[in-house]
Symmetry: C2
Subunit: 432 residues, 2 copies
């Protein structure tokens, strides 16, 4: 028994990389997870923590005191340490800061001064800086005095005596150029430099657009604050992509896959409650037509088809629009073109499937009028779905509401209400 534990301890602390230990913890149900976490050496816990999702970071961090935190997080990069500290109560953060060396503390405070989801929150403070008026020879000798360079150093940053960023020297250029030349003659002055308050999604776009490996971060006065590296940007890209998938189901992308049942139930209950409101709205619409349904029960049989086709068509439009907005394709003049296209698509697919559905309805219930009524309702609902699917995300975006989170709830409310209203309403007009 204790032999197995010893073996597990050895594997966790020596056999596996910290990122793998984090992955193992994220893939383990709570009870076993507790056991595994206790087996991780205290001085490795910081390394492991930085790779865990927010849920687990919070869980484990809240059990450590300031002293344990300081020793666990020794040697972490400043940006990763800042991420961790942001999950702690303020008093603990202050204690941790107080116990650090002055220089390290100052660096950390620079990063902590910016929100987590901005360039300032993403950056590291470990750039190699050089002056413009030295030769490459001097640069090369200066570098050789280092034991190692910061991770992912693809450029040296050129700064004035006052630490104002004036350019960057790609390492590649340092290696292929004449070593008697001056940094000033070779440096890029047109390179990307990112203001510290830039949102992380914008940072990701810049990295993708210019195929960057790292980029300097500057304050409002042009002073160099730090450096963002591609590995942190990749995390942002993945998280933002996951955010869309998860929010469409009312979930959070930082959620622990193995969260306990009780916590999971509470989180999901809210989303179910919101959807219940819209379901009752749809029910109320059906309630208006109880009399008609009592006479023609075929209506009750067919009505979900009208609502469901509208919901599917609308969610296709909505998804295309949300993605188009995220990619920056949609905006301004071309929304009108898209609305037009979506209405034509809604009409064409509406007509196609209205014919199919009408034919089946007539064969099923032997009532031609029912065919005409359901066909008309399908066309109406698919046109409304196109209209709402196109305009809703554009409007939500303008109102700064995340369309991925609330878009599909609002859309299906509309397609349910319109679907039932059109179908049962037309039937009432005709039959009563």
């Amino acid at each position: 028994e204790s032999g197995a534990l010893d073996q597990a301890r050895r594997m966790l602390n020596r056999g596996l990389a910290p990122v793998d230990v984090a992955h193992l913890l994220e893939s383990t149900p709570p009870r076993e997870r507790e056991v595994l976490w206790e087996l991780v050496d205290p001085e490795l816990q910081g390394e492991v923590l930085q790779y865990l999702n927010d849920d687990l970071q919070t869980l484990f961090l809240n059990r450590m005191n300031a002293q344990q935190l300081v020793s666990a997080t020794e040697g972490l990069d400043v940006d990763d340490l800042a991420d961790l500290l942001q999950r702690l109560p303020n008093t603990v953060t202050l204690e941790v800061l107080a116990s650090m060396e002055a220089q390290e503390r100052q660096r950390l405070e620079t990063v902590l001064a910016y929100p987590e989801d901005t360039a300032g929150g993403l950056m590291n403070t470990d750039a190699v800086t050089i002056r413009p008026d030295i030769t490459l020879d001097v640069v090369l000798r200066y570098l050789r005095r280092h034991e190692r360079l910061p991770d992912t150093t693809d450029s040296l940053l050129v700064v004035t005596r006052g630490d104002k960023l004036i350019g960057s020297l790609p390492i590649e250029r340092l290696l292929v150029s004449d070593t008697t030349m001056l940094v000033r003659e070779l440096m890029d002055t047109e390179g990307v430099s990112i203001p510290a308050m830039t949102p992380d999604a914008e940072v990701a776009k810049l990295f993708e657009k210019f195929d960057l490996v790292s980029a300097p971060v500057v304050g409002t006065d042009g002073h160099l604050l730090g450096r963002i590296t591609i590995d942190d940007v990749v995390d942002v890209i993945r998280e933002n992509a996951e955010h869309q998938v998860m929010s469409m189901a009312g979930l959070d992308e930082e959620e622990d896959t193995f969260a306990p049942a009780w916590r999971t139930s509470r989180r999901r209950a809210v989303w179910l409650g919101i959807n219940l409101l819209t379901a009752f709205l749809a029910a109320a619409v059906i309630g208006l037509f109880e009399g008609t349904i009592q006479r023609i029960t075929a209506l009750a049989v067919l009505m979900p088809i009208v609502a469901s086709m509208g919901g599917i068509a609308g969610s296709q439009t909505l998804t295309v629009l949300i993605r188009g907005i995220a990619l920056g394709h949609v905006g301004g003049g071309n929304v009108k073109w898209l609305l037009n296209r979506e209405l034509v698509v809604g009409l064409l697919n509406g007509l196609l499937w209205a014919l199919v559905i009408a034919a089946i309805a007539v064969l099923w219930f032997g009532d031609p009028a029912l065919g005409v009524i359901i066909a008309a309702a399908i066309v109406i609902n698919l046109l409304i779905a196109a209209l709402v699917g196109t305009l809703l995300p554009v409007v939500l975006k303008k109102l700064n509401i995340d369309p991925a989170l609330s878009g599909s709830v609002i859309l299906t409310t509309v397609t349910d209400v319109v679907g039932f209203m059109a179908f049962l309403g037309l039937a009432t007009l005709f039959y009563l």
Copy 2:
């Protein structure tokens, strides 16, 4: 009029970077897009093409003859060129290959030998290689003979005389180490090297796990074939993430946002047709209970609520599972734990909302039996939703079916059928 055209031409060819021109084309409706494309200088078209989505690449490529293609794609990286050639008819590809220089052709053929979505299809063939038994001094002099290094060169690859990969030398180490040392003494031999047939999603995981900037690609015999750089991996990550969002609505992530109405209609019609089948299945279930509905029309009013709550709860479970599988958290032993958790969550939320819904139903229709019946149906449907939402993606994955594409259709079919069946079936048992 022609002054405006001239201005547009100038902007496209000199004012904007190729990636921006591609973005502009992707953000423009078809007719204006045609005009813009004609204004792009022929020798810039290749650069622009590589940044376009598959839809637009195919559109424009199909109009060019081999001669135009060769001149447009001159100077492209081999991996980008290979991507473009893969969209062309075979005869044109052969013509393009025939008109290239021997060395360039050979490189291209190396990349074309691998599927687009493998490490081999992603790689570039432009690595800087060195031999193990030379000093850093010699390496530095060798590098200085280059005019520039390939983009994103963070390591030199160490190969034997027979081009077998035996290690890599990070440029950073070259800059900080004693220049009299041998490459062999300093090189990494434990670094990541990626077999050419590795799927691109696995490549992305390796880059994320080890924070790589570039990695060598090797053949089955350990020979160096090329090098993958982080910028191409970022594209893979974004595309795979988009794939999930888009396929949940039956869409393709490479689709042109401004595709014409006719083509869009055809593509979307298929998805609507599939969903129609499931809607008719649900309708058939309701049809079984027409007699009951005729007596108690309140059932028709309330039945969409049962189906909808099941669908929402199930899609939450499904989303968590699909994500867990994609992240590698879910598999093997822990599925049972998750199923248990989801069933408990389904039961808790089922009971909570069943009470709420039952209370409203009783107040609305003044019939306590109706409250009991709908409460029972809600609990049953949420439990089934938890069961199917958990097991369906695991099973689909095992069958190699993309759960993002077919998961939600199957799930809502189940929750619709079970929801209607439970609610109307219980009502029939009680009232008739």
